[in-house]
């Protein structure tokens, strides 16, 4: 059975996309789900969180990055590569037997998109066709490792890049982390129509697009009010990820392996609850 493909996306930055991807990937992997994380964000946050800075540098030196993988389709003089040769295996600093792998991103990844645009626009491709081409290339890459994973998670960059569009295009589910305030909510509207159109073209319905409330402060009346409004207007996960020091600290790589409870402290139960809800929604039971 091919893996479930899920994009974690919001036009707005700082809403907790990478934190959501990292914590969800680790929790599911601990529970026995085989997870591949694909970092589409040149900021490389989830790469740093899951691989750690030293291994990230090492992977870059070895050319095991998303830029190296896609570069072969843009710069014809580069060597052909298989996705499986570009992956970082057994990432994360959480203890236990698990299958959690990663395709890291680097700041240079933004140039791939730029080069692709320059090159393919000259060949009379329009932006939409270039997006479709990347979607097909990404799908083919996933197909090549499909037996190894139950879930592929895309960490999309803020804003809409061609790669983020491609991820939306081929994802079966979309998770939108959102802080319950006015500006973060705007980030949903800005690509919702695009995501809906993509879902409808594949005969999927809106129940595959889910909002996750993040950085929630229970005593903040604005958060209470906006969270209620989000629930009224969109599909929203029951679980709300709170604003806690432990979740923010968990973003920093730790050399010694630790348990999920040690890593996320009091927030572990919330993160597990979200993972449970996520599994139910995407059919990973």
């Amino acid at each position: 059975m091919p893996p479930r493909t899920v994009s974690v996306v919001n036009m707005k930055g700082g809403v907790g996309k990478s934190t959501t991807v990292a914590s969800l990937a680790e929790t599911l992997a601990v529970e026995g789900v085989r997870v591949l994380v694909i970092d589409l964000d040149p900021q490389s946050n989830v790469s740093m969180m899951l691989a750690g800075p030293e291994r990230w540098v090492e992977l870059r030196q070895k050319g095991k990055t998303i830029d190296d993988y896609f570069n072969q389709f843009v710069q014809t003089d580069s060597h052909p590569k298989f996705l499986r040769d570009c992956l970082a295996y057994e990432v994360g600093d959480v203890s236990g037997e698990m299958r959690l792998d990663l395709l890291i991103s680097t700041p240079e990844f933004r140039y791939i998109e730029r080069h692709a645009l320059e090159k393919w626009v000259k060949q009379a491709f329009d932006v939409r066709q270039i997006g479709n081409r990347f979607a097909k290339l990404t799908q083919a890459a996933i197909d090549s490792v499909q037996d190894s994973y139950d879930l592929v998670l895309f960490d999309c960059p803020p804003g809409i890049s061609i790669f983020a569009e491609a991820a939306i295009e081929l994802s079966e589910f979309i998770v939108i982390p959102t802080i319950p305030d006015y500006i973060s909510r705007l980030g949903i509207f800005s690509f919702r129509k695009r995501a809906l159109r993509s879902m409808e073209q594949r005969r999927f319905t809106e129940d595959r697009i889910w909002t996750l409330i993040t950085k929630y402060e229970a005593s903040n009346t604005l958060h209470q009010s906006e969270a209620a409004l989000l629930k009224d207007q969109f599909n929203v996960f029951e679980t709300r990820i709170p604003q806690t020091e432990q979740i923010a600290r968990a973003a920093e790589w730790f050399d010694a392996k630790r348990t999920l409870d040690q890593k996320y402290g009091e927030a572990t139960n919330v993160i597990r609850r979200f993972a449970g809800e996520f599994r139910e929604k995407v059919g990973l039971i």
């Binding site: 705007l186 509207f189 129509k193 009346t221 009010s225 209620a228 009224d232």
Partner: protein, 121 residues
């Protein structure tokens, strides 16, 4: 340091309240009014519960207005305070129940129209 200073200030006030009955009575009145206002505000907040003006408005403007007419001024004020519907303090001072309700409807209408446009983004 500050604890000793505050203890000194409170001792001056309590000594004066004990020695000066007129001052003591004025203190009682002020504290009683605060307690009464606070209790009434709490009751109004409890009564409005999870009432969300923007969500209720979306269900239908007329029904929403009808709901508001059933609320008293303190409950309307509680909605305005809870959802920060009067950031420019246009409703400061004594304002009629009708004006409070109209203000809530107007803010909800504008928000709803803005959101409708966002869905077409």
């Amino acid at each position: 340091m500050i604890d000793k200073t505050l203890a000194g200030v409170f001792k001056v006030v309590t000594d004066e309240a004990a020695a000066n009955p007129a001052f003591g009575k004025r203190m009682e009145d002020v504290l009683a009014k605060f307690a009464r206002d606070y209790a009434e505000k709490q009751v109004a907040e409890r009564r409005i519960g999870d009432f969300h003006p923007f969500i209720e408005y979306r269900k239908g403007a007329e029904a929403f207005e009808a709901q508001l007419t059933k609320l008293d001024a303190k409950e309307l004020r509680a909605i305005i305070d809870r959802h920060k519907l009067d950031p420019a303090l246009a409703l400061k001072g004594k304002v009629s129940k009708k004006a409070l309700a109209s203000h809530i409807v107007e803010v909800a209408r504008k928000r709803s129209e803005r959101d409708a446009k966002l869905f077409e983004y």
